[in-house]
């Protein structure tokens, strides 16, 4: 229950609930980074944001064996412990969003007129122009399984880009279970509608992902997850590699959606399927290139567009040797 969740956490202490969550894939354990505290400028609307973060975190896999307490109040913020006010504001906010949603449905998809949506060829999905844009992302690293990598996200140069930086350490945690370690990830939060209903992105008209980044030469992996309620599908994702060039120039990375390969629970599967774009839930960037050291990635914006020259539907054939059942 979302509201009960918020009631229990009226102050700004985030608690990672040991949810008996489905199939926890270690690559997607979530943990809040320091930037969360910066969003608490408006103390009234903030409990909603903080708790909405937690609710969406519960939707993603949580590491069910650890309970991490993060006290992120910055020294100048005095937490205003006022449940009634917070709850009232929260309820008003949700009803307002519900009203907007209903009204927007009459105007067109997502509140824009239909002809505009149909003819759109390029769309900016995530941009980084302010602190509130950072709130849409979660940053994780292998600290959740006991490793030593650190990763942070902050606004970059003159508030016009986001900087993801940290240190990667491939020292395996001594927990008797993992042989390898060393990954950092930045995952977008699942978009929510009024009353924290799960929503999805519909990118069916577009065929290429566009990223404007400035990296340091390290290879990253871009993961896209589909929106699904089926438990077995929660570990499935589609990935591809993003190679950064390094250097002081901005780099445009265009990845067609036909190049994304399918993986389940962190392993590439033999039977490959095309990424279907009508229900996308989140996108993520992972760095796990087995090289210890500091890294950074500056992102300007992330968008999708239609590349008229790209006609490929899916890049990977299924091989009869690995999948005899598909070829009967």
């Amino acid at each position: 229950m979302a509201l009960v969740h918020k009631l229990l956490n009226g102050t700004y202490i985030l608690r990672k609930c040991p949810k008996p969550s489905v199939a926890s894939c270690p690559f997607l354990s979530t943990r809040f980074a320091d930037y969360c505290s910066s969003s608490l400028e408006k103390p009234v609307a903030a409990p909603g944001k903080a708790s909405s973060q937690r609710k969406t975190e519960g939707n993603l896999e949580g590491h069910h064996q650890r309970e991490v307490d993060l006290d992120i109040t910055s020294p100048e913020d005095k937490p205003e412990v006022s449940f009634d006010k917070a709850i009232k504001e929260e309820i008003k906010d949700h009803f307002r969003r519900l009203k907007d949603d209903i009204v927007n449905h009459w105007i067109g998809p997502e509140g824009r007129p239909l002809h505009e949506v149909l003819m759109e060829q390029a769309k900016v999905v995530w941009q980084f122009r302010g602190k509130e844009d950072l709130d849409k992302w979660i940053v994780t690293s292998d600290k959740t399984i006991g490793g030593r990598s650190e990763v942070f996200l902050k606004m970059g140069r003159s508030n016009q880009s986001a900087l993801l930086y940290g240190t990667l350490s491939s020292e395996a945690p001594q927990d008797g279970e993992s042989g390898r370690s060393g990954y950092c990830a930045m995952i977008s939060k699942i978009p929510t509608g009024p009353f924290e209903r799960k929503r999805f992105y519909d990118w069916s008209q577009f065929n290429t992902l566009y990223l404007r980044v400035r990296g340091d030469g390290r290879p990253w992996m871009v993961n896209i997850r589909e929106d699904t309620d089926i438990i077995q599908r929660k570990d499935q994702m589609y990935s591809y590699f993003m190679f950064t060039r390094g250097g002081p120039y901005w780099q445009e990375v265009k990845i067609p959606f036909s190049k994304f390969f399918f993986s389940n629970r962190g392993r590439i599967r033999d039977a490959q399927y095309q990424l279907l774009l009508d229900k996308i839930s989140s996108i993520g960037f992972t760095l796990a290139d087995k090289v210890d050291g500091p890294f950074f990635l500056e992102i300007d914006f992330i968008g999708v567009f239609t590349d008229p020259a790209h006609t490929e539907e899916f890049a990977y054939e299924n091989s009869p040797e690995l999948n005899p059942r598909l070829f009967k």
């Binding site: 505009e116 003819m119 759109e120 060829q121 390029a122 769309k123 900016v124 941009q127 970059g156 140069r157 003159s158 016009q160 880009s161 900087l163 930086y165 395996a172 001594q174 008797g176 279970e177 993992s178 042989g179 390898r180 566009y210 404007r212 400035r214 340091d216 030469g217 390290r218 290879p219 590699f241 190679f243 060039r245 390094g246 250097g247 002081p248 120039y249 901005w250 629970r265 392993r267 590439i268 033999d270 087995k290 090289v291 050291g293 500091p294 890294f295 950074f296 500056e298 300007d300 914006f301 968008g303 567009f305 239609t306 990977y316 091989s319 040797e321 690995l322």
Partner: protein, 487 residues
């Protein structure tokens, strides 16, 4: 027959608990074979205690002794704090007693641990084979020698699984982790034709599971280091495990996915990076600069005196790159505005991190920006600028509805051996030869500790105290100009 120490028995019980958390890969790693667990559980219940952990350590040691007498050894996990995957059975010391790692028998009453011992790592069974190089040189030849010693030592290849795991761990020390011949040699250690399934029952149940896991571990290490297996590997795997086994399946997958992803890097970096710092800098600068007409200039070669060692030369190398467009932009730059030397920023080439500095100017405020107009006579064949107002709506609009990040232009990039101002000043001097206007422009050094982020241009928070005020810089530039006019 050797008694197990108290720690080992404790570790054994802890390992038993840990064995339930299994990772989901083709290598389910158990600390103890199911048979051992069952026997232990049965004997514990026979002892009459409600839970295994409830009994005294003395009884536990007796039991463990009995079990170890039963068969080969008990896998003791976490004895040395090593990761889970390594199974190191403490085999009973029989005829093939080695001189290493002879632990005295532990008494029945547990002794308190000796604090001055420190971490005593029990050696893996065949580790002494890897120590036999007389001069301690660890290279491919000694590795091959160690492997061959094992095969001669032991015609029946007892303990080959553990030896292969050990060899996989040792490969990095010997520097052979990317050598396909070595991996084929390791696969050659397996006895052939024994592990192939011969009837349907063999193929239904995982035939020789530990050996198959070991084969998969060899292939997995190959995958981690990006080594592509070849026909010899395929033949070996077919000979050892058969065509329908899991190592063979993994091999087929590797063949498929490696070939698919071999050339997807649009900015490939060679696997063997040059050792010479100047060559490395050249490679890195070419890697960063998208303009192919840019020129790399070496302003200073590394020069080290004989007394000092090569890692700390007195004159570090300085290599810079600049393209003709950047030169033109620098020539047009207004001398009243300063330009900045920023850095060092990090660049990763495979597993090597190098640092570079850039020479850039701040953005001009909008009122001072001038739009360069191309005169109409410049090109008579077609107009360079078209202002046609077609009624095109959004179906033809491929631009993103966002303002691009505005940053000042970059004029040059350099890589130097040292990150201090003196070296960079030499770079600026060298740049002045091709950009005479640089002499008149004040240069401000904004050097920071390499945190890997690009500095904020608006807030000069990271300026080091070395940054002199602009007046002094102009003096320095005046001096440089005088030197240049004199030389």
């Amino acid at each position: 027959m050797r008694l197990l120490r108290l720690r080992e028995v404790k570790a054994f019980f802890q390992g038993h608990a840990a064995s339930h958390q299994l990772g989901w890969n083709w290598i389910p790693r158990l600390s103890l074979s199911p048979k051992g667990l069952k026997i232990l559980a049965a004997s514990l219940s026979c002892c009459g205690c409600p839970t295994g952990k409830g009994m005294s350590w003395a009884q536990a040691i007796l039991l463990a002794r009995g079990l170890s007498r039963g068969w080969g050894g008990i896998c003791s996990t976490a004895l040395t704090g090593a990761p889970f995957s390594q199974v190191t059975p403490q085999a009973p010391r029989g005829l093939h007693c080695s001189t290493a790692a002879h632990n005295p028998d532990s008494p029945l009453v547990p002794r308190p641990p000796e604090p001055q011992r420190g971490l005593v790592k029990a050696l893996a069974p065949h580790e002494e084979l890897f120590r036999q190089a007389p001069d301690g040189v660890r290279d491919k030849a000694s590795f091959v020698q160690a492997v061959q010693n094992f095969t001669q030592y032991n015609v029946h290849k007892r303990g080959h699984v553990d030896f292969i795991y050990l060899a996989l761990r040792k490969m990095r020390e010997y520097g052979v982790e990317r050598d396909l011949a070595i991996y084929n040699l390791l696969l050659d250690i397996f006895p052939k034709e024994v592990f192939r399934p011969r009837n349907i029952f063999h193929s239904i149940f995982l035939h020789y599971p530990r050996q198959q896991e070991c084969g998969i571990a060899v292939l997995e290490q190959m995958e981690n280091h990006g080594v592509m297996p070849n026909k010899e590997t395929e033949f070996l795997l077919t000979q050892i495990f058969g065509r329908k086994s899991y190592p063979m399946l993994k091999f087929v997958r590797m063949k498929l996915w490696f070939t698919r992803f071999k050339n997807i890097n649009p900015f490939p970096v060679p696997r063997d990076l040059p050792q010479d710092p100047v060559d490395l800098a050249r490679l890195a600068l070419r890697h960063m600069e998208p303009d192919l007409s840019a020129r790399v200039t070496v302003y200073q070669m590394p020069l080290s005196k004989d007394s000092t060692d090569a890692t700390d030369p007195t004159e570090p190398h300085i290599v810079g790159i600049q393209s003709p467009d950047q030169q033109a932009a620098l020539a047009h730059h207004d001398p009243a505005r300063p330009i900045f030397v920023e850095g060092p920023f990090s660049l990763w080439l495979r597993d090597k991190c190098v640092y570079y500095h850039i020479l850039r100017a701040d953005l001009l405020p909008p009122e001072e920006r001038e739009v360069e107009e191309i005169p109409e006579e410049w090109n008579l064949y077609y107009p360079m600028q078209l202002d046609l107002a077609y009624g095109r709506s959004s179906w033809d609009d491929y631009e993103f509805n966002i303002d691009e990040v505005e940053e000042g232009p970059v004029f040059a990039i350099c890589m130097a051996g040292a990150h201090d101002q003196a070296t960079l000043a030499k770079w600026i001097q060298g740049l002045q030869e091709t950009n005479p206007t640089l002499a008149r422009i004040p240069v401000v050094f904004r050097l920071s500790a390499s945190s890997g982020e690009l500095l904020a241009s608006s807030s000069g928070l990271e300026e080091t105290p070395l940054t002199p005020p602009e007046g002094r810089e102009e003096e320095e530039n005046n001096q440089q100009r005088q030197q240049q006019s004199q030389s």
